[in-house]
């Protein structure tokens, strides 16, 4: 094997870029089973004798449980078990499904005697039916001592603020700064150059403050988990998880059983967007199964998803900028205050991404600062959400660029062109600001931002519409834009692995830990393998995300799968490729160098061998072995995709009603592996972003209770709300990615808020510093500006 693998043949496809499967919009391999209802989601699995779980939630934002009495509930026929802080181990952990050790504070217990938000978990009931479990939940008697609640995150560090986590022993495994006595869950200060001096040296200085708000991921499938003991008494957890391997590790920690005793299976997942990167249900099902031996299932209701799962971190950002008259950005700073809610899931890394994914875009500024603090409050727990801090960073940054350009009287497109990072350049931020540790130096090896700007501007009609305030009666139009970047995986942190074996009919099993949550990664990784092996996508049998049967992968987050897991798959397929050639050389008695591979065949001077012949030979004829290989990949780079977004809005000046008329998203994601799926990622992210900017809003009462935990009153965009959306994919070539690919999943959500805000300003001359831009707010602002 080692001899065969040492043959130095590079995949010729990499040089020619003449692809047969990569770059082709093949059908998503699971799409037909999904559209016929055959595909199995977590709640579609049924195990005989399954019992059902319901949770009891805190009605108070901040309270201590004085007494807990489940005796009445336990008397209800059909109630099997009830767990609460008094009868489960108190093990500190974070629900953030990140690599180990997690860069999030260990501040959470499975069940706690202190309630820190409306929706914190008091107890869980296991019963024969969901209805019985629900009846039992309502019979549990709990007495609370209500504590003063901290509901304004800007007051979290005040001297008289209630302290959310006064208990000892909480903090980061990685030793990151943590000051719970001040409600501070994370703190970052990064300086490049000298900001104060840079501002002094600038012709013009700016400082403005912006607020990003909560947001629900609104994955259509609610969180769910099913656990049972297999025939060898191992715990199997079927879960709606984006991170099966992290889920296994976290469950092992909380259930106090070895990792070997747990198998996590991810079936089809009904969307994640970061919501399912949190591990907070799997161990509840697991502990019931361990305690009772019964299969146990929990499926959250939509209301529970809203009140008790995870949200986007709200953020206040003050942007300071120093600019020369010619448009050179000389100094820039982002000062962020982030609200993590009651627990610190992703408290450090979402904060750092607000800087690390934003500041490098204007890499030439010699003086830069990122100054961030994350605070606890008695509000819903934030977590990972598509965009991951970059969204909260680009909302202020994208508006500041617009403000600067208007003040200087130059086109904002030129401001970006003058200051944006280019191929061959770097940013000191890449090295200084990583995820829970120092980052990694990197040179940009692919960048299509200029083309994104040019093509996007042309598509929206920038020259004809900008500053024109085109009127139609009471309605007036404006255009705005924003540029952005993201990353592709977390360098020196993330790892993905792949395994491939060959079958007699010339098909291949591809097994990957990578986690398809609806993104199409099973298809894309299959395409990468198929391309390398000169077969079609139908010849790849893809299995993913089963901790028993697939190799490790960090999971679906950080825009990593195509770039990181994809390269593991490509490298693995290259090994298989070499093994096939080596068997063919033996069969044909020709040197490997004289062989070529094409369309499931190996050609040698004077003849050809089919993949079937080759596999049969390897399995049954001589020097038998299984053609198989595994590979891992980790990366020292995180090449950013780039994008330029343009929005055209129409505002009714009599009612404040706002409509996005047209939205153009031009993106450079390297070589698209599957163009249709790339467009789908962008369109989905853009509509989510527009919806978050215009209609989505968490409404709390004065006691910190969410008052609109349903799709009736939390308004996400539907088909009728859609603007005309144009997606422009600007292909570039990323040399460190598989077949030139970079990521695309997250970047699209960063554009709508700033681009629409800038378009509103273009239309009516009002600058909005907080989200969402509702008709009511616009109407009030118009009235105010008239006065």
């Amino acid at each position: 094997m080692s001899k065969k693998e040492s043959i130095k043949t590079r995949n010729p496809k990499l040089e020619t870029r003449n692809f047969s499967t990569v770059g082709v919009s093949v059908n998503k391999i699971d799409a037909l089973s999904l559209s016929t209802g055959r595909a199995q989601f977590t709640d579609d699995f049924s195990v005989p004798n399954t019992a059902h779980i319901k949770l009891l939630y805190s009605p108070h934002a901040h309270a201590k449980i004085i007494s807990f009495d489940a005796s009445d509930a336990l008397k209800i026929p059909g109630v099997i078990d009830i767990i609460h802080h008094g009868n489960v181990p108190a093990i500190l952990h974070t629900t953030a499904g990140q690599g180990y050790p997690e860069p999030s504070p260990y501040d959470t217990l499975m069940f706690d005697s202190t309630m820190r938000f409306v929706g914190d978990r008091v107890a869980a009931v296991l019963a024969e039916t969901p209805e019985i479990a629900e009846a039992a939940v309502s019979r549990i008697k709990v007495e609370y001592e209500i504590l003063p609640a901290l509901l304004d995150f800007e007051k979290a560090t005040d001297d008289d603020a209630p302290i959310i986590h006064p208990e000892k022993g909480k903090g980061y495994l990685i030793g990151a700064p943590y000051f719970p006595e001040k409600n501070i869950a994370a703190k970052i200060l990064i300086d490049v150059g000298n900001l104060e001096q840079g501002l002094k040296e600038s012709d013009l200085t700016f400082s403005e403050t912006f607020y990003s708000h909560y947001g629900s991921h609104s994955a259509l499938e609610p969180h769910a988990a099913l656990s049972y003991l297999d025939e060898r008494n191992r715990l199997v957890i079927v879960s709606t998880t984006q991170v099966p391997f992290h889920a296994r590790r976290i469950c092992s920690h909380l259930l106090q059983i070895p990792i070997r005793q747990i198998r996590v299976i991810k079936p089809r997942i009904g969307g994640g967007f970061g919501a399912k990167q949190e591990v907070f249900l799997d161990y509840i099902a697991g502990i019931f199964t361990l305690r009772t031996g019964r299969p146990a299932k929990i499926v959250l209701t939509r209301e529970e998803v809203f009140i008790s799962s995870r949200t986007r971190h709200p953020m206040r950002v003050t942007v300071q900028a120093g600019v020369q008259k010619d448009g050179t950005i000389h100094a820039i700073a982002l000062n962020a205050l982030m609200n993590t809610g009651a627990y610190g899931a992703h408290a450090l890394t979402v904060l750092s991404n607000a800087g690390s994914k934003v500041l490098p875009l204007v890499n030439k500024a010699p003086h830069q600062r990122f100054n961030g603090i994350t605070v606890y409050t008695n509000l819903p727990v934030a977590g990972a959400y598509r965009g991951y801090g970059a969204t909260q960073g680009y909302f202020p940054f994208g508006q500041m660029m617009d403000i600067i350009a208007r003040k200087l009287g130059i086109d904002v497109l030129d401001l970006y062109r003058k200051n944006a990072i280019r191929k061959g350049e770097t940013s000191p931020i890449f090295q200084k600001l990583g995820e829970g540790k120092e980052g990694v130096e990197q040179i940009i090896e692919s960048c299509g931002l200029d083309e994104c700007i040019d093509r996007g501007a042309q598509e929206i009609g920038w020259k004809d519409k900008r500053n024109k305030k085109i009127r139609n009666g009471a309605k007036v139009r404006g255009v705005g834009m924003a540029c952005m970047m993201q990353g592709s995986s977390i360098p020196r942190v993330d790892m993905g692995a792949a395994y491939i074996k060959m079958n007699e009919d010339g098909s291949f099993n591809l097994q990957i830990g990578a986690t398809d949550i609806g993104t199409g990664s099973d298809t894309i990784l299959g395409q990468i393998a198929a391309e390398t092996l000169c077969v079609g996508i139908d010849d790849m049998l893809v299995t993913s995300s089963d901790t028993d049967f697939t190799p490790f992968d960090v999971g679906a987050y950080a825009s990593s799968t195509t770039y990181l897991s994809g390269e593991a798959v490509r490298k693995c397929a290259v090994k298989i490729n070499l093994q096939i050639l080596s068997v063919a050389a033996e069969m044909s008695r020709m040197p490997v160098e004289s062989l070529t591979m094409k369309e499931k065949k190996v050609f040698y001077p004077g003849g050809e061998l089919s993949f079937q012949d080759i596999c049969h030979y390897a399995m049954y004829t001589a020097n038998q072995f299984q053609i198989q290989a595994s590979e891992s990949h980790f990366t020292t780079a995180s090449p950013p995709p780039f994008a330029a977004h343009f929005a055209e809005v129409e505002i009714d000046t009599e009612t404040g009603d706002i409509r996005v008329v047209k939205y153009v998203a031009a993106v450079d994601c390297g070589q698209p592996i599957n163009p249709k799926l790339v467009e789908g990622q962008i369109e989905g992210a853009v509509v989510n972003g527009i919806s978050w900017a215009l209609t989505e809003e968490f409404l709390f009462n004065e006691k910190g209770k969410l008052t609109n935990p349903n799709f009736g009153r939390y308004k996400i965009f539907t088909a009728a709300d859609l603007p005309d959306i144009k997606t422009i994919v600007v292909p570039t070539w990323e040399p460190t990615g598989p077949y030139g690919a970079k990521s695309v999943a997250e970047i699209g959500i960063n554009g709508p808020a700033p681009a629409i805000a800038n378009a509103i300003f273009d239309a009516i001359g009002v600058r909005f510093h907080s989200l969402p831009f509702t008709a009511e707010k616009i109407f009030q602002a118009l009235k105010k500006s008239e006065r």
């Binding site: 799409a31 016929t36 609610p222 009904g270 249709k676 789908g680 799709f711 088909a719 009728a720 859609l722």
Partner: protein, 163 residues
């Protein structure tokens, strides 16, 4: 109930919704998304018209005709709507897809050549967080341009009373 043109006799609990009944009896292509009739994941056709099955008490539709996704097309013989959604890249996580297929089938049954606006209105009761709807509209439009729709084997019962 007549489910997918087959008579079924099912035991139900008082207060049980059609969504619960169908899922408990193996029609798991019908999905729970919100329980409040806001998302369309549980859409089925009741006498040919789309309804959110989470908002229908099973007891109120005894004897009526129900079409679920399982009655529309199969992996071997998909409905043109299903095929075109697949081809258009309109299926990402696919959780909302069965419901959207049913609304689209109902639309094309009563209006074989809808405009884009009519397609948007027909799927406006569905939430999809993955696709941004663009490719769903494209897929339904492509299906409406096919000549083999509706194939007789997929024909679902027409509404008794048209508004």
């Amino acid at each position: 109930l007549v489910i997918n043109q087959t008579k079924k006799s099912l035991e139900i609990q008082p207060g049980e919704t059609l969504l619960e009944t169908l899922r408990a009896n193996g029609y798991t292509g019908v999905k729970y998304g919100c329980g409040s009739g806001d998302c369309g994941a549980c859409m089925v056709l009741l006498n040919g018209e789309p309804v959110n099955s989470c908002q229908v008490l099973t007891a109120s539709v005894v004897g009526e005709s129900i079409t679920t996704i399982e009655g529309v097309g199969t992996m071997d013989k998909p409905h043109p709507v299903q095929e075109e959604l697949v081809k258009a890249g309109a299926v990402q996580c696919g959780y909302c897809t069965p419901g959207i297929v049913l609304s689209a089938v109902a639309l094309l049954n009563r209006n074989p050549h809808p405009t884009d606006e009519e397609i948007k209105m027909a799927i406006d009761s569905h939430l999809c967080r993955c696709t941004g709807y663009v490719k769903i509209i494209e897929g339904i439009r492509n299906a409406s341009e096919r000549t083999d729709i509706p194939g007789s084997e997929f024909k679902v019962p027409r509404a008794k009373h048209r508004k």
